[in-house]
Symmetry: C2
Subunit: 408 residues, 2 copies
């Protein structure tokens, strides 16, 4: 891994001046506080440039469910996430490496980030035992006994070959854990971060560290200091997008981000996916996000529009000749009526899942694009106010926080 340098001007900071970093991040616009901490950036990776703030669709099994790479390009995806845990179990990271790596395997030549695996190990694996060495658990697929260590997580992700890898962490659910458990997990995540740094050697792959610490300000402060001091290429905030309230999440970010204010690296909040949640996290200063939420609710028939959320399983749409969203450029809205989608959903037709996913991913990626434009234009605070005001009166897209989804 690489070192970082503190740039003199926060407006043009860049990560890793030592020359060996595979990514380069530049903050383009960072409005004055306290109006907002939102910032627009540009992340260069071996497979292309990503404008931030950005939402990353999730391709759990080396496929964003129901979508092919052309669909992903059409909805505007510039970077996607793939799950380290799932791919290590099936089809196996060594197999993917033999087949040329994840990009070739799934025919996606834009940037990819592979996640830590920690969240899935802890939430999906059965009979897990966590000790200093790592996590022992049974595969949710076939019950095989498996062992994930920081070193193994690095080997898996180097084999997969994403542009960005993430350290193995130990997430704990904020509300279901004692302060002692949260503190222990955060401290272990820091020790594992050091081991990940030592183990990671692939020069064309960036590595992000993860800050844990639950909802405890002092633990988050300590974790931010510890992870921030290590030479990662980016900083993840983990342990959120769970069962915490929006206010609790904001409080954590308002502890973490100011400590990273002069830090020249991208900030990635793991697991967040609803529009209003993304808006608030951008306002708090975060740059990168991922979630299965937009695609998962799409497959359930819930379509996002600026006026709110439409449940296409509702019988009233069976005779509705309008598109889901007037003027939307997506594959669904270009050609098909609400009535047709409602019919496909009722008939359980596979095309429904693809069309609905195309729409919700277009919606959320266009939403992020409008956020980026507003930041660049200096009007993000106004955009945020206007969206929050419109949310107040609707079941919209969507006021309530929606928790992190364990798995697709």
């Amino acid at each position: 891994m690489t070192g970082t340098e503190q740039a003199a001007e926060p407006q043009t900071i860049r990560s890793a001046g030592v020359g060996s970093t595979p990514i380069r991040f530049e903050v383009l616009d960072a409005p004055e506080r306290p109006a907002t901490r939102a910032r627009a950036g540009r992340l260069e990776t071996p497979h292309g440039v990503v404008e931030t703030p950005i939402f990353m669709p999730v391709g759990t099994n080396a496929t964003v469910k129901a979508m092919d790479p052309d669909d992903l390009e059409e909805v505007g995806a510039t970077i996607i996430l793939a799950n380290t845990y799932h791919l290590a179990l099936r089809p196996g990271h060594e197999r993917i490496a033999r087949l040329g790596g994840l990009h070739d395997f799934m025919a996606w030549q834009r940037p990819i980030l592979t996640d830590s695996g920690g969240f899935q190990v802890v939430s999906l694996g059965d009979l897990r035992r966590i000790d200093e060495e790592g996590v022992t658990f049974r595969s949710h697929l076939d019950g095989a006994l498996l062992h994930f260590t920081p070193e193994y997580a690095m080997a898996v992700q180097e084999a997969l070959g994403a542009d960005i890898a993430v350290c193995l962490d130990q997430p704990v659910p904020p509300h279901a854990s004692t302060r002692g458990e949260v503190a222990e997990a955060a401290a272990r995540t820091e020790r594992w971060a050091e081991r990940c740094l030592d183990a990671h050697g692939r020069e064309d792959q960036a590595l992000f560290g993860i800050i844990q610490g639950g909802l405890e300000p002092d633990l988050r402060r300590a974790a931010t200091a510890a992870i921030g001091a290590m030479p990662f290429d980016g900083i993840c905030v983990g342990g959120l997008a769970g069962d915490e309230t929006a206010e609790q999440r904001r409080a954590v970010l308002d502890v973490v981000v100011p400590l990273l204010a002069d830090d020249p690296r991208p900030r990635y909040l793991m697991g967040l996916g609803s529009p209003i949640d993304l808006l608030e996290a951008v306002d708090a200063g975060m740059d990168m996000f991922d979630s299965v939420l937009p695609a998962r609710v799409a497959r359930n028939g819930s379509l996002w529009t600026p006026e709110g959320r439409l449940n296409l399983r509702n019988a009233r749409f069976l005779d509705d000749a309008r598109p889901v969203q007037e003027g939307c450029p997506c594959r669904l809205c270009r050609s098909f009526s609400r009535a047709y989608l409602a019919h496909l959903l009722r008939a359980g037709e596979l095309l429904a899942y693809r069309l609905a996913t195309c729409h919700n991913l277009t919606f959320i990626l266009d939403f992020m694009s409008s956020i980026r434009s507003a930041i660049r234009a200096g009007t993000f605070p106004e955009l945020r106010r206007s969206i929050r005001a419109s949310q107040a009166g609707t079941n919209g897209a969507k006021t309530a926080s929606e928790g992190r989804v364990k798995s697709e």
Copy 2:
């Protein structure tokens, strides 16, 4: 409905000289018997031209499973079939009519044929009672008691608005029926054909009659004479593509087709879908075909290639970096390996079904295209001999007849 005229030259026969037919069929090349009865033709419909012999992918619920209209154009589909029975039950033909008809509803602007509904009523409906008036049965969806008559089948298909409608018939399984049952069903199908002709009034929609008669030469002969004498725009052969052998099917076609030899109308063999079966039916003089088979076996992981059938669920493909078929232009073979498809199938990923369907439909439609070219070039008998010879040594694409599939 329209009348037909017997053309003087079999090479340039055309249907329906009275001017009101919505379709026009022209035989372009009909080689001398006895080498083959294969013929190439050109079918003009309100939504475009179809070169024959042609295979029609099946869009049971107003969608060819896992495919969107762009996919269908890309695989080379020039006409598709939709199921009258399914669409009458869900979402309802009157609803589709209100939404602008089937073409607009499913955003497919090329030709569509809707089938008779008879096969599905008899095979899918529960508690059916068939009498002279029609068929009473319970919906396979919700158990509702429904009644299909020839007049109702016409009303449904006129509401759907396909380019080609088909008469309600009473199919019976050849082996499971007595000669008396087959005779009664064939005679009733003839009487229902007259009622369909009387009931059908949509001028921009063609109507095809159906010949039944099981495996009995004399019944087939009588049915061919009766249906052939009615002013249909095309002639279907029903009651095949079931549990009969390839030899029994050929024997029926060798009774029916010679009786229609000077008949200027397209001949449609309902329900046939495997390459070798299509090859033989073309040789016997048939022009149009449909089946869910290529798409259904694709979704099960069975991929067709010139060298034979690949079962992508087999573990040996998990490390196979080659495309399913070298040089194939389909969406699957252009970008993805056998290993990737094998992985998607094991993970139950939706993309697997679309990619596999793209391949098998490309394969069967390219196969039909090569048949058309050979007929035009006068080399169809050689093509047939060569394919049959290559079949002898493989598990190919595919020697054994594969029965008609009741439903997707």
